[in-house]
Amino acid sequence: MKLKTDVDSSDATPNLFAPRRRRLFVGKRGIAASSLSTAIVFGLIVSVLFVTPGGATVRYAFFNPHEMWVAWIGNPRIGLLAIRDGIFTNVWMFLVSEVLVLALGISIAWIRFSQSPVFVPFRLLATLYTDILRGVPTLLVVMIVGYGLPTLNFGFLSHQSPAVYGVIALTLNYSAYVSEVIRAGIFSVPHGQLLAARSLGLTQTSTMRRVILPQAIRTVIPPLLNDFISLQKDTALVSILGAIEVTRAAQIFSATVFNESGLTVAALFFLALTIPMTRYTDRLMARDRARRLAGS
């Protein structure tokens, strides 16, 4: 009996050409096709601003070049804040937070791996900390810190600017995420590395610091940068405490001149900040993947 899986032994030459409809987009025609489809898709998206009943209003209220410009440079004559003056606040908030987050995140991950019995309470705290702070919305953490610390009435801790409370809240929140990312990185280091380091007589601390962490952090740089992009955006949440940063300045502008173009300017600012970082992260990830493929 002849099985279906038997090799076909007939003499017919197989046809290897693609069907006609799939040959349409080959070569130069493919470039033309991609340009056309791009134009159509983007055109459709933008056309929403022109064909909808409220399109004209939205164009005037959100994309008014003149208002956008005024929002950007401000107008001291009528006491209007400039969005560009808020930039510094966002930038220092995320720069300081990122440094603190990295330090705290590594510490928490490290504590959760420590085996010393003295560290038991800290291990419990670290676990509790990551569980709670990953579960509470960042906005709430910002409010709790920003309203809570001043209420404590506890020396200098209670007499800081909203931006400082913002940094504290963002650090608390993002350290929880980052410590998990670093923990995953630590898990990804092969066990043989630990054995080799310990067999050289390195202490647990030296092993972590000289062998495990350097490799762990290298592997988690892309997800780490991802969290930092997210953190940069979340500096906007500190506006709820009254810190005059980009978002707050934009809100004030809108409320004063009844035009939302300031919000668009704020959005563009955040994009200018995050897009280079996103591109860079993507490139790192692609490079990492290429390296891994080459290595296997």
């Binding site: 054995l195 080799a196 067999s199 050289l200 390195l202 202490t203 030296s206 062998v211 350097p214």
Partner: protein, 244 residues
Amino acid sequence: MSEVVLELDGVVKRFADNEVLRGVSLKLHRHEVACLIGASGSGKSTLLRCANLLETIDGGSISLFGQPLGDRRIDPDLVRRHMGMVFQSFNLFPHLSVIDNILLGPVYALKRKRADAYDEALALLDRIGLRDRADEYPERLSGGQQQRVAIVRSLAMQPSLLLLDEVTSALDPTLVGEVLDLLTDLAHNGTTMLIATHEMNFARDVAQQIVFLEKGVLVEQGAPDQVFNHPREEATRKFLERVR
């Protein structure tokens, strides 16, 4: 016989309800080379790891220079500084250059000055003919070169003995020779070594003592000539027939 360096006395090791070592006893003297032979899963690697305190034992005792390692006052890190260990899969540190791999132990475990340890590390690399590769990263080296670097990495600690865990098993057949040559060289210079290996000819040539393990039991031990040519035990004979 000279001083006993390492002594195992009735060592028992269990993983859950699987008994991997069932009362193994052996003595390793200064300048002596002992080879552990036996099928995969016979407990050779576990024995080496227990000796290096990478695993805790469930019975018996292990002592180094007459000091029982089960004593609570023993510092495992100090013990390991006297015992070099080399692994089947090299386990070089991929984020460090060759020279930094070798310097890690002396600098961070022995707290020696980097500059002082540096020349010794270079001399070690010279010995294995890889001095000019000092600043490269391990992944750029061949398997045989990596394993030789791993061996001198443990030598840089100036250990009292070396534990070698099937160090040629992960290598291309063409690269096995260079690693075995280095070990033979070390043996001739009087390095005390406990070697788990599947290379029977090598074991016969360098060892003063052959230890045959089967299913965690030390079945037979003795001089190479006795174990290889006149095995007393049926199990030993069967094993040797299979590997030949």
